[in-house]
Amino acid sequence: MSKYYVTQDVEQCIGCKACEVHCKTKNNSGEGAFFCKIMQVGPEMKNNLPVLDFVYMACFHCENPWCVDACPTGAMQRRDKDGIVFVDQTNCVGCKACMDACPWGVPQWDVETGKVDKCDLCMDRIDEGLEPACVSKCTTGCLSFGTPEQASDQKRQDFAERILSQKA
């Protein structure tokens, strides 16, 4: 796991796909390639109400990434300082081994370059102290960027506040 963590408050997501377009226009991913994607589940009826959710899927930046292990050229790498998994385009030969290896369909095929590319958490922005495009401009603010520790604290805080509001 990279030292960063993108979390999504599914209840606040409206499936507007702004994250997908913020990513595409920032990273110029090829036609049909989406470094992050909103996956719709439902609708289905539960207790007389239609339930449908939108789940944000990008890269988990795994601690021991299947894609990095599978890559024969070293193009797919893990950044030492923070664990971001990214593709060095100069070394990618388009063999698609990473696409086979990743359990979540993260590496994306770029039809224009004939190579693979993927979410690098907008590491150029991170290096400037900014958030990834998808999080920074999310329409509803349902995406958050931070560390696992921050996310955990936030969850505890939200839970505690719900107890207070129930009291009131």
Binding site: A18, V21, K24, F54
Partner: protein, 695 residues
């Protein structure tokens, strides 16, 4: 070299405040203007897709004059001088024969329309009209006939509401960034959300109560609700006594419309209706009945919206936290407003071609009514209309029955399109004037109403990529060439801004820091002292005598919607959050998210017709026939089928979108004349289509 420019988005009619980054003359980043706390840096998919749109070659690049029959797609590229000569020569002939009143213009309204209105006034025609007959007219007029003010006379305090009631207002997909953020805050704070729609949308997924009513029965459901609320005194008696007129008449009218009656009509049980009424009673005054946005749906939609307005009054939610709040204007901050560009131009004495100042004078004639202007073009009455400017408006996809519209448009001597897109209408025009995109143009200043009223500025971020001009320049140039330059004597956008700001203490440079100027430091709060209504009586008029004198009854007895003929379905339409009607379907990036539309049909009906999910089906209504992929679902009322609006373009220059899916309006045969006469909105959900498996 990286620069940051504060501006205003133009990818849809919401026009959010934005910050744009420009590197070496190219736009690289568009985000929300975080100086507006309701925005933060948030922005939607459409705004981000302005970057690929900016550099797309599938948009008009220089002026083009038709070089074949209308709609033939044969064009001759010309210089701006040639384009202006072509237009002014034709206009001079038309004016000599029929007078300037034979010129009309339509656009999509909004805060920048003042410029086009000034142009029309300058050349001496009363015929400025906006798009609203296909949008909020019914809701606007319903609000006028009860509160005496237009629908934007109130802002909804969604984030503090206890209960948000949405009749087909798909607030999370047909969304405004600040509004949807407010709505979601309300949801997070535990607000009840009641959502009524024959189709399950993303908004239904956020609701605490979802009602799938029979299509066309909103008014019936509202009658049943209001009946029960009034009969059982589940309303704010103090507020109603003080501020409302006509409660006794309302009660009498509602008598037959019990929840049990409404249940029969709508398919929503009387127990559910009653439970809802008790819930809003407990939740008021923090209850918001949204009166509708694109509420041009059925022939009784004006009356449905009127009942929604009455329900708001019954909740006593006026100027209450969590209710309907007056958006504060510069006046509330003790400041003058922007000076209208029309202010110093002599009034036009001629009557309007759409008769919104005579035969239809209960309508708000500031917006006019395009379907009535079409009648004028068609019949020459009340007088001939021979020239039509269409400003970034696309009636051939927005209004019903494009074939009928084209028959009428063929009676014009001149059809001018000013657009950033190859729209269906610009493709049918005699001449296309490419307007610079919102990233390439400065625009007149706008007024921002709200707790901190002020003004904001759209700035040119980059030089035009093609040979285009900003709208202000086009209309100033045309006025000059028509000999009316004295009324639009502007040499630069700064001249226009200075004119607009002349009565205020604000200077152009005050906008550079954040793109906006606020006229007060702290928000202006709510106060009962602000409560004021624009009706003759100064009260909320359940019974409006002024309108009744014109033949518009205050309460319309209910008539059941026409049942779909055997084998037919009511055609519904809507949109997605990453789509702006027909304007974005050819966008290089948005088209990758949504390449085509599909026909949603209920599982049981599909089974009867032998249709499986993903099959190609034939949709028809009379002579209009088309093919589309079926999406079989349990989540639409069996009487209806649905398609997203804005697809099925027949414009070959839109290469990505050409021939993909179907255009709903093309199936609305005869519906240009079949609309809600009380409210003026077109009845866009009153069409039936047959569906069968493709041969």
């Amino acid at each position: 070299m990286k620069e940051s420019v504060y501006s205003i988005c133009g990818m849809c009619a919401v026009r959010c405040p934005i910050r744009v980054e420009v590197e070496d003359g190219k736009v690289t980043w568009v985000e929300g203007n975080s100086n507006d706390s309701g925005m933060g840096t948030a922005i939607c998919a459409k705004a981000a897709a302005s970057i690929p749109f900016q550099y797309d070659d599938q948009r008009p690049q220089r002026p083009m004059i038709r070089d074949g029959a209308r709609g033939s797609g044969k064009w001759k590229q010309v210089s701006w001088d040639e384009a202006y000569d072509y237009i002014t020569d034709k206009l001079k002939t038309i004016i000599a024969e029929h007078g300037p009143k034979s010129i009309m213009l339509t656009d999509r309204g909004g805060p920048f329309a003042d410029l086009r209105k000034a142009f029309m006034k300058a050349i001496g025609t009363p015929n400025y009209i906006n798009h609203d007959c296909t949008c909020g007219r019914n809701a606007n007029h319903a609000c006028k006939s009860t509160y005496g003010m237009g629908r934007t006379g109130f802002a909804y305090d969604l984030k503090n509401a206890n209960h948000i009631v949405l009749f087909g207002r798909n607030i999370t997909e047909s969304f405004k960034v600040k509004e949807v953020k407010g709505f979601l805050k309300g949801v997070k704070n535990g607000a009840h959300v009641t959502y009524v729609d024959p189709r399950v949308t993303n908004t239904a997924g956020k609701a605490t109560r979802y009602w799938q009513n029979k299509p066309g029965t909103d008014y019936a459901l509202l009658l049943g609700i209001t009946n029960y609320i009034v009969a059982n005194k589940l309303y704010d008696e103090k507020f109603v006594k003080k501020w409302c007129l006509g409660l006794a008449e309302l009660k009498k009218f509602l008598k037959p419309y019990t929840p049990e009656w409404a249940a029969e009509e709508t398919g929503i049980t009387s127990d559910e209706i009653k439970a809802f009424c008790h819930e809003v009673d407990a939740d008021r005054p923090k209850v918001i009945f949204h009166i509708g946005w694109l509420y041009s749906r059925y022939k009784d939609t004006f009356y449905a919206s009127r009942m929604l307005n009455i329900l708001n009054a019954l909740m006593g939610n006026t100027e209450q936290t969590g209710g309907l709040i007056y958006p504060k204007t510069p006046k509330h901050a003790d400041s003058s407003g922007l000076k209208s560009l029309s202010a110093d131009i002599p009034d036009v004495k001629e009557p309007r071609c759409d008769s919104c100042d005579s035969d239809w004078d209960w309508y708000d004639n500031g917006a006019g009514m395009l379907q009535l202007a079409y009648d004028a073009i068609d019949t020459g009455k009340p007088y001939p209309v021979k020239a039509y400017f269409v400003h970034r408006h696309n009636p051939l996809i927005a209004l019903p029955d494009p074939e009928e519209q084209k028959r009428i448009l063929d009676k014009l001597d001149l059809l001018v399109s000013v657009d950033v897109n190859y729209s269906e209408t610009s493709w049918y025009a005699d001449i296309i004037l490419p307007e610079s995109t919102f990233l390439e143009r400065d625009t007149i200043l706008r007024t921002d109403k709200g707790p901190k009223p002020g003004f904001s500025m759209r700035r040119k971020c980059v030089e035009p990529f093609y040979d285009s001009k900003p709208g202000w320049q086009i209309y100033v140039d045309l006025a000059e060439r028509l000999g009316k330059g004295e009324y639009m004597p502007y040499k630069s956008i700064e001249d226009i801004w200075k004119y607009q700001l002349q009565d205020t203490d604000v200077k152009i440079e005050d906008f550079s820091a954040t793109g906006m100027v606020k006229l007060c430091d702290s928000p202006i709060g709510t106060s009962d002292d602000n409560i004021k209504f624009g009706t003759k009586s100064g009260k909320i008029e359940f019974v409006n005598k002024t309108w009744e004198d014109k033949g518009i009854e205050s309460f319309k007895p209910y008539e059941s919607p026409e049942a779909p003929p055997e084998g037919s379905y009511r055609l519904l339409f809507g949109r997605k959050g990453y789509q702006t009607h027909g304007q974005s379907t050819n966008n290089p990036v948005l088209s990758q998210l949504l390449g085509s539309n599909k026909l949603l049909i209920h599982t049981d009906e599909a089974k009867k017709l032998g249709i499986s999910d993903g099959d190609t089906v034939t949709v028809s209504n009379g002579s209009k026939v088309g093919s589309i992929e079926a999406q079989v679902t349990d989540f639409i009322h069996p009487e209806a089928v649905f398609m997203l609006h804005g697809f099925g373009t027949d414009v070959p220059a839109q290469e990505r979108a050409f021939g993909k899916g179907l255009a709903d309006n093309a199936f609305m045969k005869g519906k240009l004349k079949d609309w809600d006469k009380a409210g003026g909105g077109l009845a866009l959900n009153e069409t039936f289509v047959t569906v069968k498996p493709a041969a």
